[in-house]
């Protein structure tokens, strides 16, 4: 018997280290610590209900576990063989408890390739990775396939880059292979800049060896002897696990000099990012790895010709890499059959926002947005109405009701006015104001623009200012034209992918929520009730009983009124926090 405890950052944050410890202590007390192992794994994906503990072999899935629950899990489940009812997941629709995760809606439609080992193995133990076909693909490449057949396999699999662009991976490898040079490099892009995406981090935390193995395969296929992982410094746990995995791989002769006795040398080093979104762009990333400011340069030349230290370099994303060992092991045809014709395989999404089941999911390409949001995601939180889903992060767009049945793939999302991006998927409900959402992303872009080219540096700032003006209730009709024109100029004239895509949140929300922009500008109203300057809180005299609850709760003391008398809100002082409305039991506060 095994107890798997989620050690992903999300669960870690909710007191997880203590759970493993508490379980171990409880086992010790019962004298079972030799028989039963507590394994800290990577992310299970179901972050909404974390921390999660899974019991093997019976697959019992416990949710929202606290350290105090360790005792009862050991006493009841382990010793007496009875499931701990109160920790089981309850299906909200059928109102019944489900103990096997495979039967939960959240997992039913998922196929896990890139996440195959996350939540299954202990990422700090290389033997567990090896026991699940780990490093077999590397053996096959070194011993059997050679570089050309490996690249051919990648091409046939149809794998496209998961970092956002969707460029065919096999083709990229071929370019790097063909370009002759004394030195070449492999780079893993673990910069994960989209604020609201955490799949790359989860893979590195949950299955670092899959990335190491794939980078080594990549090195052999293009003729490189050094790999670099460019990773965000904000990911301390991923860095720690990656370092440990690198050490273990070297110890086992799977990395370093003469890998697996093949005569091929390959080493991997880490380079840390330092909080600049643009460094996710590959040319900027390469400059950053060289110790420079992370400013992008015009392509061509592409990294495959002139990259790190001016040498041919292949850059791939973490998730792209995580797919590769499986493709080599199971074959290109197996992989190509999953998903659809032009987008093969699966995609990992970080599903978040106003959805019931926030978490990390992996679905075959071609799954519809509806299946993701409503079947896997369990629908919208608090019974509210679905309004939009944002994909592609700051470069993407907001899709609406009418896109829900669109099969998700690279081309469909672009057609619909968004993009795949790295896999952030943020669900929004009726309370979200789309003008504010566009403003949120522009705020991000303005902050993250590196300043090298004018359209991006100045243009995005102007876009932000206009949006701000509109949300403040000072928008004029011509502002809407300005937004349109400026957006197209920025898109056409910016130097790198950051500026070329940064107006997308504006363009897509204008396209899909035009009436909302008009309402802000013409009627000076925000139907979502999110723009503070376009609303005010008022007390409805007939309903107010003078209970004083609102006045006591008001953080700025702007509500006056005697006990049992009608209260009044001082509009000058009110900061529109909404506390009064939340606390009123008599529906006596309204927004106008």
């Amino acid at each position: 018997m095994h107890l798997l405890v989620c050690g992903g950052s999300g669960c870690h944050a909710s007191a997880n280290g203590d759970i493993a410890k508490a379980l171990n202590e409880a086992l010790q007390l019962s004298g079972l610590n030799d028989e039963i192992q507590v394994v800290t794994t990577g992310c299970f994906g179901f972050c909404e209900k974390g921390p999660i503990v899974k019991v093997l072999p019976d697959n019992t899935f416990y949710v929202e576990v606290q350290p105090e629950d360790a005792e009862i899990i050991v006493q009841e489940h382990i010793i007496k063989g009875r499931k701990v009812e109160k920790l089981l997941y309850k299906d909200p629709e059928k109102d019944e408890k489900i103990s096997d995760s495979a039967k939960m809606d959240f997992y039913k439609k998922q196929i896990r390739i890139a996440l195959r080992n996350c939540g299954v193995i202990n990422p700090e133990n290389i033997d567990e990775y090896i026991a699940r076909e780990g490093y077999q693909a590397l053996g096959k490449v070194l011993g059997e396939l050679g570089d050309q057949k490996t690249i051919e396999t990648m091409k046939q699999s149809g794998l496209r880059g998961r970092g956002g662009g969707g460029f065919p991976t096999g083709l990229k490898w071929q370019f790097a292979n063909t370009n002759q040079s004394d030195e070449k490099y492999v780079v893993c892009n673990a910069d994960e800049g989209d604020p609201g995406a955490f799949m790359d981090r989860s893979i590195l935390e949950g299955d670092p060896h899959s990335v190491i193995e794939a980078m080594t395969i990549n090195g052999y296929a293009i003729g490189a002897n050094l790999g670099l992982v460019y990773i965000r410094a904000e990911y301390p746990l991923a860095i720690k696990r990656l370092k440990k995995a690198l050490e273990q791989a070297k110890e086992y002769g799977l990395l370093g000099k003469d890998v697996m006795g093949s005569g091929f040398d390959f080493d991997i080093q880490l380079r840390y990012g330092a909080g600049a979104f643009v460094c996710g762009e590959e040319t900027a990333l390469i400059h950053s790895m060289e110790g420079q400011r992370g400013e992008p340069t015009v392509k061509p030349p592409y990294p495959a010709e002139s990259g790190f230290r001016g040498k041919p370099t292949n850059v791939n994303n973490v998730e792209t890499f995580a797919n590769i060992p499986v493709i080599i092991n199971k074959g290109a045809d197996w992989f190509a059959k999953i998903g659809n014709k032009k987008s093969t395989g699966t995609k990992v999404f970080a599903l978040a926002g106003k959805v019931n089941n926030v978490g990390l999911i992996e679905v075959p390409m071609g799954t519809t947005l509806r299946e993701v949001i409503f079947d896997i995601g369990g629908g919208i939180k608090d019974g509210k109405k679905f309004k939009a889903v944002q994909t592609g992060g700051p470069s993407g767009g907001c899709l609406t009701e009418k896109h829900l049945d669109t099969p998700i793939d690279y081309d469909n999302l672009i057609e619909a006015g968004s993009m795949m991006g790295s896999g952030g998927m943020i669900v929004m409900d009726e309370d979200d104001c789309m003008v504010s959402v566009a403003k949120f992303y522009l705020d991000f872009t303005v902050e993250e623009s590196c300043g090298k080219c004018t359209p991006c540096r100045v243009g995005n700032k102007r876009l932000y200012e206009i949006l701000h003006k509109i949300t403040e209730g000072k928008g004029e009709p011509e502002d809407l034209d300005k937004l349109r024109n400026l957006s197209s100029v920025i898109k056409e004239t910016s130097l790198c992918g950051l500026g070329q895509t940064s107006p997308n949140p504006v363009v897509s929300t204008m396209e899909n929520f035009w009436e909302e922009y008009e309402q802000h500008v013409k009627e000076k109203k925000c139907a979502a009730g999110s723009c503070k300057n376009l609303m005010s809180y008022h007390i409805i005299e007939e309903n107010c009983v003078g209970c004083t609850a609102c006045a006591r709760k008001c953080p700025v003391n702007c509500i006056s009124g005697e006990k049992k008398q009608v209260h009044k809100i001082d509009q000058e002082l009110c900061i529109k926090c909404g506390n009064c409305m939340d606390v009123c039991k008599f529906n006596a506060v309204e927004i106008i």
Binding site: S9, H12, C47, G50, G196, E234, A274, A350, G353, E447
Partner: protein, 163 residues
Amino acid sequence: MSSVKVELHQKDVDKIKEIAKEYNNDPEALINVLHSTQDHFGYLPAEIQEIVAEETNVSIAKVYGVVTFYSFFTMTPKGRYPISICTGTACYVRGAETVLEEFKRQLGIEVGETSENGKYSINCLRCVGACGLAPVVMVGDKTYGRVSPDGVSDIIAEYEDAE
């Protein structure tokens, strides 16, 4: 430069030298060196940057250029209890902004500032990846999930008695 004047002791200088040496005084490793240095000192004032420049064989201008380019590096000391509010998209749609406003209001400081007694500072983070717990706030290494504006005073209260 919005930096405080600091006096470095010989042992501080030695420490920087030691860090740079770990990375073979390689100009290419500048960012990794800056990370380790900031880990040790908490921030990167001009005086420290000068020594880093010398030890990694790059110009002071370049070190300054790099430090100011990346948001992770800071030239002002953070508070003893640095408060970081995640403003990633998931936290944003779940109300991070109102939480941020409440911290600013209660502590009387803006984002990027440190309170006068040096105890608190407020910063925004771009997604810590704990989106299931949104909105997320971190104080030092400790993470608080599902924070509402109401819960802000409780969080601050935890640190009020501490030094």
